[in-house]
């Protein structure tokens, strides 16, 4: 009587011996191209688009201000606020904040000409708020502003 040869079971499936190497390559890739998050964003910022965007000047020290509607609307309301280093501040609080942040920098880089303020604001924010912030920054001598924006690919150059 003829026997049917049953197919051998596939058994192992994909060989996994190279898996650690693959994962390590991925890991190294991410370690190289990314950088640590400085702070947790507590506001929604959908940044505006522009055509003339340039890379941020890395030679300068950067202090970041986030402006947008809080993510947790139940606790903080639905009006745009300023986030500076994991807390919300009023426009007048910028004076103190900037003084603190400046103090954290190396002594030879504390001059306002070495510092730029990155404004990362939601595109729906009222300019009145930004104007207030800029007025205060101007008053305390920080005049270099960097408006974070995304490259607009649709608009023709």
């Amino acid at each position: 009587m003829g026997k049917f040869r049953t197919k051998k079971k596939g058994g192992e499936g994909i060989p996994t011996s190279a898996l650690p190497d693959i994962i390590f390559i991925l890991l190294f890739f991410f370690m190289v191209v990314t950088k640590m998050k400085k702070q947790e964003k507590m506001v929604d910022t959908h940044i505006p688009e522009a055509t003339q965007v340039v890379k941020k000047n890395e030679a300068l020290q950067t202090i970041e201000l986030y402006i947008g509607v809080p993510k947790d609307k139940g606790a903080f309301g639905d009006q745009p606020v300023i986030q500076a280093n994991d807390r919300f501040i009023t426009p007048n609080g910028i004076r103190q904040f900037m003084a603190e942040e400046r103090g954290k920098l190396p002594i030879d880089k504390q001059s306002p000409s070495n510092i730029q303020v990155a404004i990362i604001a939601d595109d729906e924010v009222d300019m009145g708020k930004i104007n207030d912030i800029e007025k205060i920054l101007k008053d305390i001598g920080f005049r270099k502003i960097f408006y974070k924006a995304a490259k607009n690919h649709q608009a023709s150059l």
């Binding site: 996994t16 898996l19 650690p20 994962i23 390590f24 991925l26 890991l27 991410f30 370690m31 191209v33 990314t34 950088k35 640590m36 998050k37 940044i47 505006p48 688009e49 522009a50 055509t51 003339q52 965007v53 340039v54 890379k55 941020k56 000047n57 890395e58 030679a59 730029q116 990155a118 604001a121 939601d122 595109d123 729906e124 924010v125 009222d126 300019m127 009145g128 930004i130 104007n131 800029e134 007025k135 920054l137 101007k138 008053d139 001598g141 005049r143 270099k144 502003i145 960097f146 408006y147 974070k148 924006a149 995304a150 490259k151 150059l157």
Partner: protein, 189 residues
């Protein structure tokens, strides 16, 4: 004859290596972000000194001022005429590079001042678009002056001395005279 020692190959158990690598990978995925730092640079005007005598009659010819006003309806007014944001850049270029041809526009690039007033209530997006158009006008003029494409001009590196020298050469020929005014200060004009 001594019995041959069995060679014991004590290898580190590497079966959990993949798991360890996965954990590290996930940690890096969560705690890092892609550096995507692009945007527009701008320098605010100097703070006005209160001790300075305030009434300094600056003799700026009206033709040399390109006043841009954006109101809370996101309408743009340039040289007292409503314009679309898309046309603003071309108008600004025409104004700066006029060199005295049109009697309503500037008579010299070194005197051509652009003032920008943004009213309370304007959307940030609109402001960035206007700022983008005005910066774009200067970038175009500078790129043309240096005889290069705009993309190449924008890609000039701030750390490269030659590039910085080129930029300052262009800026000398066509100085960057864009001033942002505080809304309530504008009444003087």
């Amino acid at each position: 004859m001594k019995p041959r020692k069995k060679r014991v190959q004590e290898e580190v158990n590497s079966s959990s290596m993949a798991d360890i690598a996965f954990l590290l990978l996930i940690f890096f995925l969560v705690s890092t972000e892609m550096p995507n730092e692009k945007g527009l640079n701008f320098t605010l005007p100097k703070k006005q000194d209160k001790n300075e005598v305030e009434v300094v009659e600056t003799k700026i010819n009206k033709r040399n001022v390109f006043g841009v006003i954006v109101n809370s309806n996101n309408d743009v007014l340039a040289k007292e005429e409503p314009v679309k944001i898309e046309d603003l850049r071309a108008k600004a270029i025409a104004f700066i590079t006029n060199e005295g041809k049109d009697e309503n526009l500037s008579d010299d690039p070194s005197k051509a001042i652009i003032t920008l007033r943004i009213d309370r209530g304007t959307k940030y997006q609109t402001y960035i678009e206007v700022q983008d158009a005005l910066l774009g006008a200067y970038n175009k003029i500078w790129a043309d002056y240096l005889g290069m494409s705009e993309q190449r001009f924008l890609a000039l590196d701030d750390k490269n001395h030659e590039h910085v020298a080129m930029k300052s050469r262009a800026r000398k020929a066509f100085p960057f005279l864009l001033s942002k005014m505080e809304p309530n200060d504008f009444g003087n004009y």
